[in-house]
């Protein structure tokens, strides 16, 4: 393209940008983030050997939260489609794998893949209607919530999902990677969860920097403008939703294998959706590392308060025997973070860093 250009124009105020303008960053952000992810994974590998076994369980819980959070963040953070119903996908992942394992003896690995497919399929259907009818903001959130609740109610009263009883994973003798079953305090659970979380994290980074990810970011910023520049809006929104649901389904499937039991409330209850949201918002919505920070905080919080309450320091003694404190603390933390750090911990830190 040659021809007339608009001459000059004023440069960015101060700190003359000429140098910055032409030089590319040394390492593409995608590669930098993948490198950081790899380092984090390597650091985490020996953790279960170091931590006492009670903390090992907390670490696994953190990883499950992380998987859910990464899934939710793709749709609602990167994509700006605020889902209040991710329990639907978590539950579909959990129930699909549990059903296949309990009723048909299918390996949970296959069950996990099946759960991802089912969750992605349902997400695409729900998404299609929600986008087709242009639901946005609070309306979109309420619609996703309604679908998750409908699934919970249907599962609760359907015979082949065992109604309200749910599924107990049959115990096997010994350990098996194929059946994802090990001794209760085996570090293998942690490593499998870590591997899954690492894959999910990598998927989320690669997605963000892909062509599709750029489209989705543009759609989030301004859907009409993006459409006017030829962005295939519906297709990329649905792809985002499907990826998000599939990753969340992995969390559900792994949850079932780790806890060996799932019922409608555990899988489809609104508290699951809330956990996914709270984790990301505390960490930093729409950031790559927000889910990690959020999961560490939210995942360990209830354990910290429980320990605190079991053997309270003197000044908290009056609280012993009172119920509800841990949730109240959690609620206060949530409110404080949202009020004081509206972009979440990572988001706010990054904004400071840039300045």
């Amino acid at each position: 393209m040659t021809g007339i250009t608009i001459a000059g124009g004023t440069g960015p105020a101060g700190r003359g940008g000429t140098g910055r303008a032409t030089k590319a960053p040394p390492l593409r952000p995608q590669n930098r983030q993948l490198a950081i992810l790899l380092v984090l994974l390597l650091v985490a590998i020996p953790l279960p050997l170091i931590l006492p076994s009670a903390q090992g369980a907390v670490a696994v819980r953190i990883l499950i939260f992380l998987l859910m959070a990464v899934g939710w963040n793709i749709m609602s953070g990167f994509g700006g489609m605020f889902s209040f119903g991710h329990a639907a996908y978590f539950g579909l992942g959990a129930y699909t794998s549990a059903y296949l394992l309990v009723e048909h003896g299918v390996s949970p690995w296959i069950g996990m893949l099946a759960g991802m497919a089912v969750a992605a399929g349902v997400a695409v259907v729900i998404g299609y209607f929600a986008f087709r009818y242009k639901l946005q903001g609070a309306y979109f959130a309420l619609a996703t919530f309604a679908f998750a609740e409908m699934l919970r109610l249907i599962v609760t009263s359907t015979e082949f999902t065992n109604k309200a009883v749910g599924f107990s994973v049959p115990l096997i003798q010994g350990s098996s990677l194929w059946k994802i079953q090990f001794a209760a305090d085996s570090p293998a659970y942690f490593w499998i969860a870590l591997a899954l979380a690492g894959l999910a994290g990598a998927a989320s980074i690669l997605f963000l920097h892909s062509r599709s990810g750029r489209y989705v970011t543009a759609i989030r910023d301004d859907e009409l403008a993006a459409a006017s520049l030829g962005t295939p809006v519906m297709r990329h929104k649905l792809m985002t939703v499907a990826l998000s649901a599939a990753i969340t389904a992995v969390a559900g499937a792994f949850y079932t294998q780790y806890y060996l039991f799932v019922n409608p409330d555990l899988a489809f209850g609104s508290s699951v959706s809330i956990q996914a949201i709270a984790t990301v918002v505390i960490g930093g919505i729409g950031t790559v590392w927000g889910p990690v920070v959020g999961a560490i905080i939210v995942g360990s919080l209830s354990d910290v308060t429980a320990t605190l309450l079991r053997t309270p320091p003197d000044f908290l003694n009056f609280l012993q025997g009172r119920s509800g404190l841990d949730v109240a603390l959690y609620a206060i933390l949530l409110i404080l973070i949202v009020r004081l750090l509206p972009k979440g911990i990572v988001g706010t830190a990054m904004a400071r860093w840039r300045r």
């Binding site: 608009i6 403008a225 006017s228």
Partner: protein
């Protein structure tokens, strides 16, 4: 050769007639100015042509194909691209990223995409801003960014909605030169909504006047400005060209 053909287009907003029986044609490589008082339906017309709104009646033919009611993104990829009166940058991206988003429809290696995007950014004079967040741009810069994103699409037809509004006269000239050059060099067809009559007079081959959702007059700039109906429609309005 006709590239855009609008026939019998009508659009209601809850009983409010925004467009009615709008008909016109635009030839390949033509520059069509669209003027009219506020609320005449100019932007609505753009929304209908580009698929952001489905018309209640009528059809839009682009390069001989019916695109009525098609989604905006398909129309844009087909080569008919618009800019917005109010600037709509992607706030979380840099200027360059804004532009490369529009340029990435063609499959190409990342390096090539980057070069091409930079070229477009340079062409509209935003080279020094390329890696700054789009939200930091001043108004004039945002206007150029709108233009740059549209250009990166390599449009066959470009619809510009008040691309000069908010620019001081000194900033207008280079934009006008660029637009003129677009047709010369790239053969782009232009439709532009404009309040600044001097620009309309200078650039357009033909002018379409809209009033209360209808086509009031169409013809060369001289013809329409001397049309008594047009003058009447503008009566009571501030003198044309003051500011849009």
């Amino acid at each position: 050769m006709t590239i855009l053909n609008v026939t019998g287009v009508g659009k209601d907003f809850r009983g409010l007639r925004a467009l009615s029986e709008v008909e016109f044609e635009v030839g390949q490589g033509e520059i069509l100015g669209i003027i009219g008082p506020n609320g005449a339906g100019k932007t609505t017309l753009f929304n209908v042509i580009c698929g952001a709104l489905a018309p209640d009646t009528g059809r839009v033919l682009f390069a001989g194909r019916d695109v009525t009611g098609r989604s905006p993104d398909r129309i844009a990829r087909a080569g008919m691209v618009r800019t917005f009166q109010l600037m709509r940058p992607f706030g979380s991206m840099s200027v360059l990223e804004n532009v490369s988003l529009a340029a990435q429809h063609e499959r190409q290696p990342a390096r090539r995409l980057r070069e091409r995007s930079l070229e477009v950014v340079e062409r509209v004079g935003l080279g020094q801003w390329a890696h700054r967040p789009a939200t930091e741009l001043p108004t004039a810069g945002l206007k150029r960014l709108e233009l740059a994103r549209a250009l990166a699409m390599r449009p066959k037809v470009l619809l510009l909605d008040e691309v000069l509004a908010g620019l001081v006269p000194a900033e207008r000239e280079p934009v006008l030169d660029l637009l003129a050059d677009l047709r010369e060099q790239d053969g782009t067809t232009l439709l532009f909504i404009e309040h600044i009559m001097a620009a309309v007079m200078r650039l357009s081959d033909r002018v379409l006047v809209l009033d209360q959702g209808r086509v009031l007059a169409a013809g060369s700039a001289e013809e329409v400005t001397s049309d008594p109906r047009v003058i009447e429609a503008y009566l009571g309005e501030e003198p044309a060209g003051a500011e849009g």
